[in-house]
Symmetry: C2
Subunit: 338 residues, 2 copies
DNA sequence: CAACACAATGTAAGCGCTTACAATTGATTC
DNA sequence: GAATCAATTGTAAGCGCTTACATTGTGTTG
């Protein structure tokens, strides 16, 4: 004896409209298979009853969810916000929903989230970067879940991806810095372990140095989490060394923001006493005083393309392409010639 | 004739372990009801087969999802990031998952998302602010979905909520500003329509003026979206008027950041030529130069409490409390006496 | 007008779980 | 040793949809 639930089901609609459940289902999903008269009547009943299809039942019967999952390292800072927004918008335009979770930069957590999203029936997945336990890729392949990787682009990889070359981009910025006469360079890096973007950027700096005959071993590197506060701390410790560097390059804009604030607190003028650079080109960079020299990444474009490509994969129009986007060095007030 | 899918199901596990599906289900959900020996054997089989429970099937059979839905106006800027992070962490600690969508400040979109989240089986919902179509509340009540409102707190409302008094907080800041001698005040407001937080803040400014005998009609108000760029534009248009205000108060820190950048561009010194204030106390405020006077909102605490209370409601330990949190005026460099 | 094609609708079998209830087991008691 | 009971396990009925297949109705054709 179940209490008569007041939540209308397909059955209720069918009964009220005097048709079978199959017909109602068709009205909802394949209108062209139903006569116009029936369609109108059924839709009116749907409205009258305030019927909403039960998503889980639907997913179960149809084995499609029109849902895409995304796992990003963090939502707490702006690095991924813009790109994910564009990703979401594009999905929405094409009739897909987005489920996001964050892994807090922890590989095991990411693996767990992959399973959770697949268990929820995600038709496809967006992951950040390449580096992760092969088991995860194995699982995805066995389950046949189209997956696209973003925010990085490494030569010689064949996985579907849309990103930019973190290493080459940072190398380019480093060469620019060196060209402006800087020799004593310090670098505040994000945590490299398990983060191929951070690793690539660090490698890019070293390659930039090497390309100009500077010994990469002279580079001071501090590795720390991507937060304003930790960026500030790293900057302080760097500037205690003797001789002080003439430029502190940062693994991203958030770290750079921390460095800039700390510079002011230490009474150092930017860029007269020390130059500072960032990476990403988030809004924060243009609000800083002086505004931040950074590497601008086309986040929105990356998000949009990722969505389009992933849907093509889900709908079997593509087997997964490799797309590399160009970045742009933004030279601004925080970097000056020596 | 279905192709033999390689995705293991409960049945597969049961067969392989030589028990019934009920027992496997118990091993997964109510370990205490199963003998230790069986439990071990079944769990090993689960592991060997790489079995993952199908979430949709589970939700359907159990009518519980351990999933909470949240709909916030935007993910694109930092206003909600910190609070949602804490909300998420607390949910996770208590064994719940979070599904977030953003409504882009559009009431119809929000209503649609509410239905979508409920259709997905969300056990409870977090919504921002009070103001929305009564139909939405009606729907939620009919479906019996516990819902908590956050980010605002209005006297005389009885809905479960955890927030702060936007109006009183802004009134307090306004009084502080007036006490410092400011008479010509301008205010850059967020879009008030459909946003009770923005509306409350604007009302708070007017009440603050009135309380000190300043005619609220002399207040210049520019209403615009919460973006750095629009904040900058609003500031420019305000400073073109004669006589210029001595202080530009802003509806949030993002607008204030735009105002500050624009002030520099116009060659105006802050706070010597014009004072600027914000609201929210996001990280951005402390990175600005000079650092921003703002109203600090305990976002993390709000997120945590919202999660705890909502779970209590879902698990029938509470019927929905009304919690008001205190804010703190942060007096910093961007505001000076006249 | 019988024969047929095609459009519209109906029937019913699952999808992979949870759980009420029934059955079995083994220990305990008298 | 029969009776009792708690602990453990099994049986099977759904949960609310989609969809392959069967059925019905309608207009065309020879």
């Amino acid at each position: 004896m179940t209490p008569p639930s007041n939540i209308p089901t397909l059955d209720d609609v069918a009964r009220a409209a005097g048709v079978s459940t199959a017909t109602v289902s068709r009205c909802l999903n394949e209108k062209q298979k139903v006569s116009e008269k029936t369609l109108r009547r059924v839709m009116k009943t749907v409205d009258d009853l305030g019927y909403t299809p039960n998503f889980n039942a639907r997913a179960m019967a149809a084995k499609r969810t029109h849902t895409i999952g995304a796992i990003i390292p963090t939502m707490d800072n702006a690095i991924f916000a813009r790109g994910m927004q564009a990703f979401q918008e594009t999905l929405h335009d094409k009739g897909y929903n987005l489920l996001v979770s964050s892994s807090a930069y922890q590989p095991e957590l990411e693996a767990e989230q992959v399973r959770a999203l697949v268990a929820r029936g995600a038709d496809g997945l967006l992951l950040i970067g390449y580096e992760r336990d092969p088991d995860v890729y194995g699982f995805l392949e066995r389950r046949n879940i189209p997956t696209i990787l973003a925010w990085n682009s490494i030569d010689g990889t064949d996985h579907a991806s849309v990103g930019f070359d973190n290493c080459a981009s940072m190398k380019q910025l480093t060469e620019q810095v060196i060209t402006m006469g800087h020799k004593r360079i310090a670098y505040i890096s994000g945590i490299v372990d398990g983060n191929d973007r951070a690793e690539g950027r660090l490698r890019g700096v070293r390659m930039g140095l090497a390309a100009h005959g500077v010994d990469p071993n002279t580079l001071t590197v501090v590795e720390t989490a991507y937060e304003i506060e930790t960026g500030a701390r790293a900057f302080r410790s760097i500037m205690q060394a003797e001789p002080q560097p003439t430029v502190v390059m940062c693994g991203n804009d958030v770290l750079a923001a921390g460095a800039m604030t700390q510079a002011k607190e230490l009474g150092l003028r930017v860029p007269e006493d020390v130059s500072i650079t960032g990476f990403d080109g988030i809004e924060l960079a243009s609000v800083l005083q002086p505004s931040l020299t950074t590497v601008h990444v086309p986040h929105r474009e990356m998000g949009r393309i990722a969505a389009e490509e992933l849907i093509d994969m889900v709908e079997k129009r593509s087997t997964g392409a490799f797309r590399r986007l160009d970045v742009k060095i933004e030279l601004r007030g925080s970097l000056a010639p020596i």
